[in-house]
């Protein structure tokens, strides 16, 4: 039980840190266009030197 006296303040610090990271990520636009990055991975970027695109051509 003694450990709670420093674990709780520590967890509060962690939460504040997580909150700061979350706000930073949101303001940086990390939660926008969530599908785009997945599409990029799957579909290639459409440039001519992309192997998938070249094979189809």
């Amino acid at each position: 039980m003694e450990s709670l006296y420093w674990l709780i303040p520590l967890s509060v610090l962690f939460v504040l840190l997580m909150g700061a990271v979350l706000v930073w990520a949101a303001m940086d636009g990390q939660f926008e266009a969530l599908e785009q990055e997945g599409q990029r991975l799957l579909g290639g970027d459409g440039l001519p030197n992309d192997p998938d695109q070249r094979d189809q051509a």
Binding site: M1, I8, V12, M18, V23, A26, M27, E32
Partner: protein
Amino acid sequence: MANVSVTERVQAAQVAAAGAQLHCAQCGLVCEPDSLVQGELAGQCLPYCCQGCAFVAQTLAQVREAVPAAAGDTATGQLQEAAVDVHGMVCAACALLIEARLRALPAVRGAHVDYAQKRAYVTFDAQRTDLGKLSAVIHALGYATERSAEEARRAARLELARVGLAWLAMMQVMMLAAASYVAEPQAIAPDLMQLMRLAQFVMTVPVMLFSAAPIWRSAWHQLKARSVGMDVPVALGLAGAFVHSLVAIFQAVGEVYFDSITMFVALVLSARWLQARAMTRAHAFMASAQEALALRAKRVRAHATNAQNPGYDVVPAAQLVVGDRVWVAAAEAFAADGLIVQGESSVSQAWLLGEARPQRIAQGAAVLAGSVNLEAPVMFEVTRSGERTALAAVSRLAHRAAQSRQPMMELAQTVARYFLWVVLTLSVGTWLYWTLMAPAQAWPSVMAVLIATCPCALSLAAPAAWSAAQAAMARAGVLLTRASALETLAKVGTVAFDKTGTLTTASPHLLRVDTDRPEIDALTLAASLASASVHPYAQALSQAAAAQGKVLHPAHALKVHTGSGIEGAIGGQPYRLGHRAFALASTGGMDRLDTDGQGAATYLADSHGLVARFNFGEQLRPGGAQVVKQLRALGVDTALLSGDRKPAALVVARAAGLNAQAVQASMRPQDKCAHLAALQRSGRVVAMVGEGINDAPVLAQADVSVALSSALGGAALAQAQADIIVTNPDLSVIADAVRVARKAMRIVKQNFFWAIAYNSLALGLAVSGQLPPVLAAVGMAMSALLVIANAMRLHHGWYAQAQALLPNR
């Protein structure tokens, strides 16, 4: 440019000053003696009509001194163009001031402020400045700017950050709070309990300061404006709970409500965030139309020496005037309405028609601003620019609709406003009652009353559904121009159609060719003769021949007999095309073709007698038959009001599947009005569908008027006086619109029912102290979420239907 005109005005003012009247050195207006201001400029004492003009002149002079330093800088960065809406300009001098101030900035390459449009067009070096800084410069001069796209994006991210932080804090606070809820009394040591409360407090502070900031701000604005809005009781409840909890910590007695606070903020912000997203989606259509408009255009130089390659200047779209010729490369948008003068391509008019099917364009074809050139570069001549384009007209109509309030929404807002006063009064009463009876119950009960009864859901009920319906309709090419049209459309009992140009295409169409000499290609012969005439029947023949890929013969000795027909010779043979009597005049011979046919007919004869009879009729518009069928399925009557003769009207009615008794023929506009009025007297809500301009009085008589802009082209959009404008060429979207309107009204009613039921129930429970603040927070937010989700349903349903219809067209 601006500087020159100012100097000219100063000179003009000096000349005028010698006379009896003083003219302002800045704006040139006559100075009233009582508001005259003397200002010193470049060592001269000049008169100004007001302090504003004196200020503008001084600033301009300072700016002018700064300009040469900036002009020498030629480092090329990434040039960017932007249009910024500027508010607060009261005269053209203001525009000059902003223009000069912007140009004085080193990073700005060009600035043009259009006073009439209230918009600034700026070309700037994107590496050295951004729109925010430019807006700040305009702000510093005392003018307001519209939020730029960049700022809007930032605001959206901020909202997300607020919601996210609130959820994170809510989960953590709830963990600590839960421990004290489930533990036996005294099981947790008092100092540990105190530590846990402090921890909850520390984690709640960012939520109160950062996440809840919009609530504080809007509550403060509402109080300042002396109107009680939704956020006032919410802010009171939050602040009360926070202060009460804080006091409880320091006095080490009483309850803390940090879990309620964080949960409430998280849920309320989530509801608002979802609502904002739904609204953004609803307005995405208009936004895409705005984005579709090109901001700059490649204007072809007028007095070019090299006709083959005249060269062009890139100018702001707003500077285009009628008669300008503009190049549009592939994948670029048209900056104004106009006619193609060179080149062939296809364009997409998705913003207007609701479908992205490419349309062919060639020389002489009309194009609308906002359309995207898909294939090859073309040159067009501007016929309408700026605020007179169809795109601008559509934007204006949509804005008008968004601003006009639906009666039902108005009512809900009023009810919500009164309800708020009831809530505030009740919370005071609750507090008094519980303070006297059981003081420990007082705070939780008041908080529950303040939070649980917030009429959020009530005030969202109608607007959420309305904007979802509007967006869904706009996407299918049905524009509401008045908010109340949706409600009326839902109640429609009879839809009356005009005939020509509405249920049918405006021009005649070749229906049938009868001949008893099949060895002769009558259509080719007739079309060859018809090429000499611009008569609608002649054009229908030419079109039919072209559609069948016929190669026309050269015709000689063509002679057009106005009102009768055409005669001419093909391959040495004389032919006559026209009325029966005219065609037979040269032969006097007998014919075996019977003469009674449907609709109007034209005859072709050679020297041996009649060759063929061509029957013309009106062609039903696409979707003309479906709309009647679908409306009938919805229980809506259809009627045809035609100025044409009965037989012609009946032919169209039969093709569209209308009952013969629903056809009213030979009607003058006043007859149509009277007919509609009679229908209305019998208790029916009547919609009139017409082409929108010539039948304006008839449309005005109807309860809800529908104009078909596709019948007229984009030009007439702005003039069309109707509650609903259909831009989709397919008529059947009218039936879809009725269906969506009914569904929207059903959803509004469901929403109202839910909101009222919830608020009454919550109020009762909260006042009697039966509703813990946590549950109040959940209940209130959930009811708002439910209302929004219900409205979003409309979105999906219609969209799926519209998609399902498209491939059949």
